[in-house]
């Protein structure tokens, strides 16, 4: 599963552009920073109040006053800055974040996202996800294709919605799928995976991109 997450993170990293301001969600999305292509320099925002996140500190060198939104100790790079929550979400809602990478419980073919609760079972709360999904210029979902075989990419969400029609791109260990006005478009399949396998693991209809490609799983 860790392999799958790293495959997803590596592919998402190719979607980011030099100079982008990017917010990486907790968990899998955080791994994206490890795979930035040569020459792509981004500024990572964490919504608890920092621009310029720069990875984990060495063991024993943690600054107790410096964490990311996942509660993990971080370091910052030269040119970083700190701010309060109101400013942080002004940055997010105000359209100053070029891309955000978020996890998902479900995504549907209209680009609707469910990520914050499973009624009666798991309630984590939306944290900053609703604001990020509403305010960032590009919403990229990084998720395992299925939940232990159960499709997560659906015709319609079954879980409470986190944001309406915001998802632009879905990257899984099996496929890269774009959300278009016509529906979901299969853009790439992972090396070693067939289109039929992707379709079988996806509840939503998939349109075929005329230039369907593959992506690396190395």
């Amino acid at each position: 599963m860790d392999d799958a997450k790293n495959i997803i993170a590596r592919r998402i990293a190719q979607e980011l552009h030099d100079g982008d301001v990017v917010n990486l969600g907790i968990g899998l999305p955080t791994l994206v920073a490890n795979y930035l292509p040569q020459g792509v320099d981004i500024t990572i925002q964490s919504e608890n109040g920092v621009l310029g996140v720069n990875g984990s500190p060495e063991k024993g060198k943690e600054d107790p006053d410096l964490i990311n939104a996942g509660g993990k100790h971080i370091t910052v790079r030269k040119g970083s800055s700190y701010f309060d929550t109101a400013t942080s979400f002004g940055i997010i809602r105000g359209g100053h974040v070029d891309a955000t990478v978020l996890g998902a419980l479900e995504v549907d073919e209209k680009g609707n996202l469910a990520s914050h609760m499973v009624p009666g079972k798991m309630v984590s709360g939306m944290g900053g996800a609703m604001d990020l999904a509403t305010g960032a210029k590009k919403i990229i979902i990084g998720t395992l294709h299925t939940n232990s075989g159960k499709p997560k990419i659906l015709k319609n969400l079954t879980l409470p919605i986190t944001a309406v029609g915001v998802v632009k791109l879905i990257v899984t260990e099996m496929a890269v799928i774009e959300v278009s006005p016509l529906g979901l478009v299969l853009k790439e399949v992972a090396e070693g995976t067939t289109v039929e396998q992707v379709k079988a693991a996806t509840e939503a209809e998939l349109l075929m991109s005329p230039d369907l490609g593959t992506f690396s799983v190395q």
Binding site: G71, F83, G127
Partner: protein, 220 residues
């Protein structure tokens, strides 16, 4: 200039059962840990807590949840303290989930004398239930109303005796907005200095908002 430093027991003596309390911090970072412990030690109960999250199991606000002294929380995230979800599903704790940016703006608007804020966040979701919506220039917004509290408790890195406070690194988070939106504001800090010692350029919570300052034995 008034010296507002009191001891921590005197500070929590002012908090009655049933109080609403804003607790600053983000997963325990910038949180007034010693005041939370003192609230627990005194046995204050039936609290309404307004905070970013309900802490991480064993840390910060999670201690209040575990002790079952909270009747309601308004918060953005409870995933790092599963006990909150358990009590919510058991029906013993009321939880109002508020998007993080909306929580900050609702508190800020209370402190800034605004009637509320219009935000696109939450449109079309459960968050919108029962709320007025407005369409402005073709975009839909929710009207989110201000949140005030009886108390705000803050965790500063350095405070002067008047209450001007500095927050290091990412500990600033909800501290500045919460300082403006409660009847009584208590700052906890490990380092207390005299007025004039803190460069006015780095003051992040202003002394005029602060009622009491208490010394912590650690910064958590």
């Amino acid at each position: 200039m008034k010296n507002k430093v009191i001891n921590i027991t005197e500070a929590v003596d002012r908090i009655p059962d049933g109080a609403s309390i804003m607790i600053a911090g983000f997963l325990g970072n910038g949180t007034p840990h010693n005041i939370i412990d003192a609230i627990l030690a005194k046995g204050i109960k039936n609290l309404t807590i307004i905070a970013n999250d309900t802490g991480i199991t064993g840390i910060g606000i999670s201690k209040l949840i575990a002790a079952k002294v909270v009747k309601k929380v308004m918060t953005s995230h409870i995933g790092t303290n599963p006990e909150t979800g358990k009590q919510m599903m058991a029906g013993t704790l009321e939880v109002e989930l508020v998007p993080q940016g909306t929580l900050a703006e609702r508190i800020r608007s209370a402190g800034a004398g605004l009637g509320g804020v219009l935000t696109p966040t939450g449109v079309g979701t459960d968050v919108a239930h029962g709320k007025q919506t407005l369409v402005l220039n073709g975009k839909e917004y929710l009207l989110e109303l201000p949140i005030k509290a009886d108390f705000a408790i803050l965790g500063a890195t350095i405070a002067d005796t008047f209450g001007n406070s500095f927050f290091n690194g990412t500990t600033k988070n909800f501290n500045p907005v919460m300082s403006t939106a409660a009847d009584t504001v208590i700052v906890e800090t490990a380092k207390i200095v005299e007025p004039g010692e803190l460069d006015p350029n780095i003051v992040m919570v202003h002394g005029i908002f602060v009622d009491y300052i208490v010394r912590s034995n650690s910064n958590g």
